[in-house]
Amino acid sequence: MIILPSIALLAIFVYGFIGQTLKVSLTDWGREAALALHPEISYVGLKNYHELFTGFLNMRFRQDLANMFFFTLAFVGLSLFVGLVLATLIDQLVWGETFFRTVFLYPMSLSLVVTGTVWRWLLQPRGGINVLPTLVGLPAGEFLWLSSREQSLVFDWSHILYYICIIVLVVMAFMAYGHHRRGERQQFRTKAVISAILMGILVIGVAGGITLLDYPEEHGFNKAIWGVVMAAVWQMSGYTMALYLAGLRTISDELREAARVDGAGKFQIYRYVDLPLLKPITVSAVVILGHIALKIFDLIFAMAGPDHVPTSVPAITMFLKTFRGNELAVGSSIGIILLILVSLLIIPYLANSFKTGEQ
């Protein structure tokens, strides 16, 4: 009874509106007179989604997806790495631990818009970071942090399905190998079958020359993203540091003691005792940072503005399509795609933690 009101509110304001968004995304709301009192809206099925992934004019959305993918990889990877290094160093400190902990955790208390504005200034091509080298007599940096148009890792969007196939295939094969090594025959067999099916699809697709678009469209890792990654890592690595630090503290000294008795050195203890025990923390951190990265909007909006495609992400395009271009249906479709991507990350994690909770 006590939780009933909150369930009701949740049902309306979260799930009700998700349903509403899904419904809108299947319509063509956004043609002329979109904002009339009773706009003409008709059902068009999955047309908006089809347009987003293959339509000529939605090239921007696809570059957004690529940006988001590379941003997520770089941001999560670097945050984990920096956080782990900081936590390890602070763990070794004899004094001043509270001080440094506060210093590194402090950026997290700022709003992303503030971070974005400050870093926008720091990353000005003619100031901030680029003039730092001149302090020690070196020539000023030339890198256009947020406005570079260079790309690396360029790929052809019309082959995107193959790339996804290959990534899943590699992951599956890797997991299958793990099961095989641990002698889990049942799981090994499932993974091996999935891998084989993917391989089959891949061979058929490539042999048949099936592509998503009938012209090549290149997207890649925009170097301008590095600026945003730097700001985001600066903000969030303190958080991973705190997580890891808490993790390191829960490892009982008896384990380390036992390792020491067995003749392990300091580095070996770190490598074979501490790091494996931090794995669950890494998983939680990946999920938390990952969903922040997928939904990122304010940081980029403040750093690079709305119309800067080299650093744009789907959330920004969603906002512009909906509230500036009046294409409400297309905006809803992008929203649903984002929701699916975030659920791909979170649902396995939740399912897993429920399972372990029951055990």
């Binding site: 256009l144 406005s147 495609v309």
Partner: protein, 419 residues
């Protein structure tokens, strides 16, 4: 007992005062909510208008709802949710032209102001070209408060004579002097973030197409894939060769600063840049900085304007009409514009209230051919403008004039340009 009698008397008095006060207020009539994105630098100009209104109608309580930031991006989003939710403000700021018509007029959310125009005699004082841009065949939809000019080229006269160059009258001339400037280590033309590139594009396209074809582009008579438009994109690409590489991380002020500091020779910007140089940088118009119509557009005034309209179903309609009447009046316009750094839309404004730059702009306003700006919402609806930013990105990424023209054509069809 004495005390309680006094108390009763006091209560009765208080009640009577209260009743009278509320009756009096109702008689002079309540509220006027003005929705805009004018805060910060533009705040004082709006305050001047509100002061004037409150003096004229002392009984009306003016509610100034501003949503700041992002050249109105946020304000427009808030406005849309408010109108969709059935809670319109009494009047709201909107770029005059298709940005209003394509979003709100086609949605039947605005009232026709033709009667007001006739009643106030505005047809005689607003240029006919302007009224045409504010109207559809069903009516006139907003009252312009100010006029800005988009096609202006700024420079520092002393720097030009130092480098031994004149002001180019055409883009061909510009392309001739640009390599020399580049060799001297001067950036021939400074540009800034995405929208300023669209801003530059419209000046270039206007010079290549001329005013008649520019208008035909927007009423659907000229295809985006026509050779003239492709030529405009090519010319734009040639010009971009002589601009700064860090453009997209700069604000428009920083692009102006480059000219002022002598790092760049020219900058194409709307005439708010004149206000910035006069007020913020304390330069004297004419000697401190110079201006000309952007190359190839002499005698053409590419305008943009902030305007206010009358939303259907606004709660205080009479007050809003009084506000619009004041905005269109000579006094109202001359109170607002010198502070805003723009000119009056009326051809009978009092020029002595304006500085040297604005006087020159006002003279051009009265004599030039008037066309509308794309980058600032006059000629195209919001959907086109939103996707044109993507077209611009396609061009900047690929430098392919044909690809950009094809994309623009597709956007124009989807957005229903000229329909």
């Amino acid at each position: 007992m004495k005390i309680s009698r006094w108390l009763r008397f006091a209560i009765v008095c208080a009640a009577m005062v209260f009743v009278f006060a509320s009756v009096a207020q109702a008689a002079v009539s309540g509220k006027l909510e003005i929705f805009s994105w004018w805060a910060g630098d533009e705040g004082p100009a709006l305050e001047a208008l509100i002061d004037k209104y409150e003096k004229m109608y002392p009984g009306v309580n003016v509610v100034n709802s501003t949503v700041t930031g992002g050249a109105g991006v946020h304000a427009k989003a808030v406005l849309k949710t408010r109108l969709l939710g059935g809670d319109p403000p009494d009047t709201f700021q909107v770029h005059a032209g298709q940005e209003l018509i394509g979003t709100w007029v086609v949605a039947d959310r605005m009232e026709d102001l033709t009667k007001l125009y006739e009643q106030e005699g505005w047809h005689n004082v607003f240029p006919a070209d302007l009224v045409k841009l504010l109207s559809t065949d069903k009516g006139i939809w907003s009252v312009p408060v100010n006029i800005h000019r988009s096609n202006v080229m700024f420079f520092i006269p002393d720097n030009l004579s130092k480098w031994g160059i004149g002001v180019p009258a055409t883009w061909e001339e510009f392309l001739k002097i640009a390599p020399d400037l580049k060799a001297k280590g001067v950036i021939p033309l400074s540009v800034a973030e995405n929208w300023t590139q669209t801003h530059l594009w419209e000046s270039v396209a206007l010079s290549v197409l001329g005013p008649d074809k520019w208008e035909k582009l927007w009423n659907g008579e000229l295809s985006w894939k026509s050779p003239e438009v492709i030529k405009a994109w090519e010319m734009f690409g040639d010009i971009l060769e002589y601009t700064n590489a860090d453009a997209s991380s700069l604000s428009w002020q920083q692009a102006t600063d480059m000219v002022v500091k002598g790092q760049a020779a020219f900058n194409i910007m709307g005439d708010w840049a004149a206000g910035y140089m006069t007020t913020t940088l304390k330069l004297k118009p004419g000697t401190g900085f110079g201006w000309a119509a952007s190359p190839g557009t002499n005698g053409i005034f590419m305008m943009l304007s902030d305007s206010f309209g009358l939303p259907v179903g606004c709660p205080n309609r009479e007050n809003a009409i009084a506000w619009l009447k004041m905005l269109g009046s000579r006094d109202g316009q001359d109170a607002f514009n010198p502070l805003k750094g723009s000119i009056s839309a009326r051809t009978d404004s009092d020029l002595s209230k304006y500085d040297a730059y604005l006087q020159s702009a006002a003279n051009d306003w009265r004599s030039n051919k008037i066309v509308g700006s794309l980058a600032h919402g006059v000629t195209a609806n919001e959907r086109f403008m939103n996707d044109f930013a993507t077209v611009m990105e396609i061009f900047l990424q690929t430098k392919n004039a044909k690809a950009a023209a094809n994309a623009a054509e597709a956007v124009a069809i989807q957005a229903g340009i000229g329909r």
